[in-house]
């Protein structure tokens, strides 16, 4: 079974702090993703990475950055946390997609981040 592990289930930080969210997958997947989930807005993609040291902006990258130094690890960084970044953060991974089938994304259990 694919295992995607997020380092914290709950996190409380203060406005202006630099925040690191860590994600590790154990299935040698090429692709990794960071989403945030907010009520009424569904899952919105922040950043994704399709290879080590590669990154692509998602739909809402402002205020975030990412790092992928190793294939199994994908970090989300809030450069200067703000209250509007209070949310549930979900990490996912998947195999490289082909031309005829999309590989499902496998999700971690999420980090509920509160910025005070």
């Amino acid at each position: 079974d694919v295992k995607v592990t997020q380092s914290s289930r709950y996190l409380v930080k203060r406005t202006g702090e630099k925040v690191f969210l860590e994600c590790v997958q154990d299935m040698d997947h090429e692709n990794m993703f960071w989403y945030r989930q907010d009520p009424g807005l569904g899952l919105r993609l922040i950043y994704f990475s399709y290879d080590v040291k590669m990154k692509e902006k998602g739909d809402i990258p402002e205020g975030y950055s990412v790092s992928r130094e190793k294939k199994e690890r994908f970090s989300l960084i809030l450069e200067s946390a703000s209250t509007n970044q209070t949310s549930m953060y979900l990490c996912a991974s998947s195999q490289r997609q082909g031309f005829f089938v999309s590989q499902p994304q496998h999700f971690g259990d999420g980090t509920r981040l509160s910025i005070l």
Partner: protein, 110 residues
């Protein structure tokens, strides 16, 4: 601009009856669609998918229907069970290497 829409935030169905969850999309380039199920305090899990070359895909109690002309898909659960109570997200993507991004709907709580 919401490219994938789930217009019903919630749905209530009796055990044993059919649950029908709907999803509309606006981008006609999407050619692959997926449904995910999410329990509280857990990440979403993949449920079923369909390619745009098909109009139906079945897996046990779950069937997904795709109407390309209407840009509409639906998930049927028959018969519904208490364990099906969750939030269901539909998602859409473009096939091909480098297009791994999924666009999710806002979810329907069943």
């Amino acid at each position: 601009d919401q490219q994938v829409k789930q217009n019903s935030p919630s749905l209530s169905v009796q055990e044993g009856r059919i649950s029908i969850l709907n999803c509309d999309y606006t981008n006609s380039m999407f050619d692959y669609f997926l449904w995910y199920k999410k329990y509280p305090a857990e990440g979403p899990t993949f449920l079923i998918s369909i390619s745009s070359i098909k109009d139906k895909n079945e897996d046990g109690r779950f069937t997904v229907f795709l109407n390309k002309s209407a840009k509409h898909l639906s998930l049927h659960i028959v018969p519904s069970q208490p364990g099906d109570s969750a939030v269901y997200f539909c998602a859409a993507t473009l096939l091909g290497v480098g297009n791994e991004k999924l666009t999710f709907g806002t979810g329907t709580r069943l």
